[in-house]
């Protein structure tokens, strides 16, 4: 077991190192440099290049970055000059994660319910209604649904605040807007799966045993149909947790979503790298832990993985 864990750990670390290295060099290939601005003169730019150590050869900069990274130091942002990337992540990620967790829970409950309703009322109005909601959910982008919600629930009905993140009332609209796509995905999957299960032999057996339809649906159909839904929940959760640019932007949520995009626009090298490392490690760490747990649960993996 120890050997298996070690094996997984080494692979995870190599993955992380490859990721960091590729991005470190790729980001330097973007045209322009972080200190370009309309006002800056060449001499002043030289002062700034020196200050941040960009006058050193690239491989020295790389070694310095990696050794800082090993200490967990992602460096100072080039745009938010006196804040480190660590501080930015520490401050912004909780908001993204908070919103993401709400959205995952909401999407799962609503999506599964819609899917069940649709399947049990196959080709009846309720089915069409559920699937209509699902299709709308998947085809209407966040930048449409967000302002629409704001207009209806804040401006017209005066029920909710327009934006910001200061308490439960503030979370309702962004959670709904963010989960809409996932609701659609889950609902359609759940419906298909329910219809698939209904033709299985064990349902027939259950019927012939004389179980009531309600019992069949609850005990056999749903429990089996839910498996593929849970499979997609993994990637859905990861996507929702790490922050979304559009929704956070529209609802003025101080999350992590925008930093990657702004980092690239501003050529804020340390921010782009830091975000890559964070997202990368987030997924690698999660996968690593999953692999371990998996190995514990299922010995075949452990042995086969050697």
């Amino acid at each position: 077991m120890a050997r298996y864990i070690l094996n997984r750990l080494v692979i995870s670390l190599i993955t992380a190192w490859v990721l960091v290295t590729i991005v470190f060099f790729l980001v330097r290939l973007l045209p322009g440099d972080p200190f370009l601005s309309e006002k800056v003169t060449p001499e002043i730019k030289q002062n700034m290049i020196k200050y941040y150590g960009f006058d050193k050869p690239l491989h020295i900069q790389y070694i310095r970055y990696i050794s800082n990274l090993l200490k967990g130091d992602l460096g100072y942002s080039l745009r938010y000059k006196n804040r480190t990337v660590n501080e930015v992540i520490k401050q912004a990620f909780p908001y993204s994660a908070d919103l993401g967790i709400r959205a995952v829970i909401f999407a799962t409950i609503v999506g599964i319910t819609l899917g069940i309703i649709a399947a049990l009322n196959r080709n009846k109005p309720l089915d069409y209604l559920s699937m209509f909601i699902a299709i709308v959910g998947i085809s209407v982008p966040g930048f449409v649904i967000g302002p629409l919600l704001q207009y209806i629930f804040a401006i017209k009905l005066k029920l909710l605040p327009v934006a910001q993140w200061k308490g439960f009332a503030y979370t309702i609209m962004p959670t709904f807007a963010l989960s809409l796509g996932s609701i659609a995905l889950i609902a359609r999957l759940m419906r298909a799966s329910m219809l698939d299960v209904v033709n299985q032999d064990y349902i027939k057996t259950a019927k012939s045993k004389g179980l009531s339809p309600t019992q069949i649906v609850w005990k056999h159909q749903i429990r089996n149909a839910i498996l593929p839904v849970i499979t997609v929940l993994g990637p859905v959760t990861a996507t929702l947790l790490t922050g979304t640019f559009v929704i956070e932007q529209i609802f003025a949520i101080p999350g992590l979503g925008k930093f990657y995009i702004l980092g690239i626009q501003n050529l804020d090298y340390s921010m782009v790298l830091g975000m890559t490392v964070f997202y990368g490690l987030f997924l690698i760490a999660a996968n690593f832990i999953v692999d371990i747990i998996y190995g514990i649960i299922d010995p075949r993996i452990r042995i086969g993985g050697k």
Binding site: L36, N47, M48, I155, T231, A252
Partner: protein, 552 residues
């Protein structure tokens, strides 16, 4: 597969939980209490579009920092609505040759209770110029004796820089040449005082948070929730506190203009910028307000471009200038908000006594296109270039990659095709790449802009001197250089303004610049908001003397 996914989800939630754990369990109780108190207080609320990147006075460059800095710091002077008033300096004398300023400071306190002294100003200005500070706006201090030399490493001894605290209350600043706008320049954020002991104690973390700064302005920064909200409170120690009517200013950070607009409509903000699609509607309601934000946009020609001799031809450049219909352009691209640039110098900049544009009225290009005149100039150009067919003339317009930049370029393309029969191609690149291409003089014509650094036409005019740090056009004109040099050194401010006007005319006649528009912004406010000043230079909005009487 099921187990794997379940495990993955649980792990992700767990990891997220660990990261979230340390976050704030929101202060709901204190917030509602605060809200009750706010009912009695005068609170102004408005949104800004992005986090303030940096509030360190000597390193700050962006408009939000300048706007907040104006409220929480105070320099030697304070500029309000374009006029200079005493700030930390109670009074000052200027020497006969207009090169030495002696400031006498009033009794004033930092937010930690210690006195604001002349030493704080000396330290701040030297810090601005210290190459190790790596300040982007260090050039604002180049007027001071040895300022540029120290910043660019030609001298290393800061004591040679022309700024000195004679004693706690007296500061002397020596300039290289008389600078007409020097007093108003001193209100710029780069010249705000900082206290040495405090800066050194904070190190790299100086100005990173609300409690890592000292304040001496009308307000103090009470809370700085990064990416979320800034809260300013009236400074009880401010020397002129009776003139300040607001108790609090709350500034949420809202990136989306449309979200800010909805918040305003919902009564969550007191004033707001109007998104382009609503301007017409608000205008019809009679509620729209407009102000110049100082930015000017123009076509900038690279006169040294190989294989494209027409770019170096004055008459060709003027043909382009007269072929543009500035009014139609503004209607189509900017929803009618902005002013056609019929001359080069921004009309609001100060002249000798009044506005420069009032003292020196001038109109080189018309607001509407003048196809006849454009054709005339084009024919002259073709003759000089030995060309018979205008369709031989080809060039590329470099511009940003936004959708508005695209529309702007296409409208210009269309006008040139219609009025001159010339094919212009368009190259769209990201902002930073455009700047890089401009720096390398790797463009034909670029759609560029400039905002003023100080209230004087010189901020626009000295860009185009030979060897100027921003002059990447290859244009060089002796007469122009001499006019600018004269204006920059003379102590006779009338003659100086005359020279600048001559330079402006020369630039329009022969220079590499074709002005397009002076930008305006549309905004609206609730009726109870009074005393708010929108500035085309420096801090905007200036809310320090604003009032919200009757809001609640």
């Amino acid at each position: 597969m099921l187990r794997k996914s379940l495990a993955l989800i649980l792990t992700l939630l767990l990891v997220a939980g660990i990261f979230t754990g340390c976050s704030q369990q929101s202060t709901n109780q204190t917030e509602s209490k605060q809200q009750q108190e706010q009912l009695k207080e005068k609170e102004l609320v408005f949104a800004i579009g992005a986090e303030v990147p940096n509030l360190d006075p000597q390193k700050a460059t962006d408009t939000y920092a300048i706007m907040i800095g104006n409220a929480v710091f105070e320099g030697l002077v304070r500029v309000y609505d374009g006029k200079v008033y005493p700030g930390m300096a109670e009074k000052w004398e200027v020497s006969e040759d207009k090169k030495t300023y002696t400031f006498h400071l009033r009794d004033a306190k930092w937010s930690d209770g210690s006195p604001v002294t002349a030493y704080d100003f000396e330290y701040a200005i030297k810090r601005l110029l210290d190459p190790k500070t790596a300040s982007e706006y260090a050039f604002q201090g180049y007027y001071i004796v040895n300022g540029e030399e120290y910043n660019t490493g030609k001298i290393t001894d800061p004591n040679q820089v022309g700024v000195k605290a004679i004693d706690e209350k007296t500061l002397e600043i020596k300039l290289n040449v008389p600078v007409k706008y020097f007093e108003s320049l001193l209100s710029f954020i780069s010249f705000m005082p900082v206290k040495k002991e405090f800066v050194e104690k904070m190190g790299e973390k100086f100005a990173a948070d609300a409690d890592k700064l000292l304040y001496n302005g009308p307000f103090i920064l009470k809370e700085w929730k990064h990416e979320q909200e800034l809260i300013l409170e009236k400074n009880p120690n401010y020397w002129n506190k009776d003139a300040i009517k607001l108790d609090r200013v709350r500034i949420p950070i809202v990136q989306e203009v449309n979200t800010a607009w909805q918040m305003y409509e919902n009564g969550e903000l007191d004033f707001v910028g109007i998104p382009p699609e609503f301007v017409e509607q608000v205008k019809n309601e009679g509620k729209a307000l407009f102000y110049y934000d100082g930015a000017e946009f123009y076509l900038q020609f690279n006169v040294k471009k190989d294989g494209k001799p027409w770019l170096a031809n004055e008459n060709f450049r003027k043909a382009v200038g007269f072929a543009l219909d500035r009014e139609d352009y503004i209607k189509a691209v900017l929803g009618g908000v902005s002013d056609p640039a019929t001359r080069y110098v921004l009309p609001l900049l100060s002249g000798v006594e009044k506005k420069f544009a009032e003292e020196y009225p001038y109109e080189f290009y018309p607001k509407k296109a003048d196809p006849a005149k454009a054709k005339e100039y084009l024919d002259k150009a073709l003759k000089e270039l030995n060309l018979s067919d205008p369709s031989k003339i080809k060039f590329e317009l470099l511009t940003d990659d936004s959708s508005r930049a695209k529309m702007s370029a296409e409208i210009i393309q269309d006008m040139l095709r219609k009025n001159l029969g010339i094919e212009m191609t368009i190259k769209q690149v990201p902002f930073k790449q455009r700047l890089e291409l401009m720096n390398k003089s790797d463009y034909d014509v670029v759609f560029a802009g400039w905002g003023p650094d100080y209230d004087d036409p010189m901020t626009y005019l000295d860009l185009w001197v030979t060897g100027g740090g921003h002059n990447n056009t290859g244009w060089s004109n002796k007469e122009y250089d001499e006019l600018i040099k004269f204006a920059k050194t003379t102590g006779d401010f009338k003659k100086r303004a005359d020279a600048m006007f001559e330079a402006e005319k020369l630039l329009l006649e022969k220079g590499p610049i074709v002005p397009v528009y002076f930008r305006q912004r549309a905004w609206t406010k609730k009726d109870y908001v009074t005393g708010l000043v929108r500035n085309f230079i420096g801090p905007d909005p200036d809310f320090i003397y604003a009032d919200v009487e009757g809001k609640n």
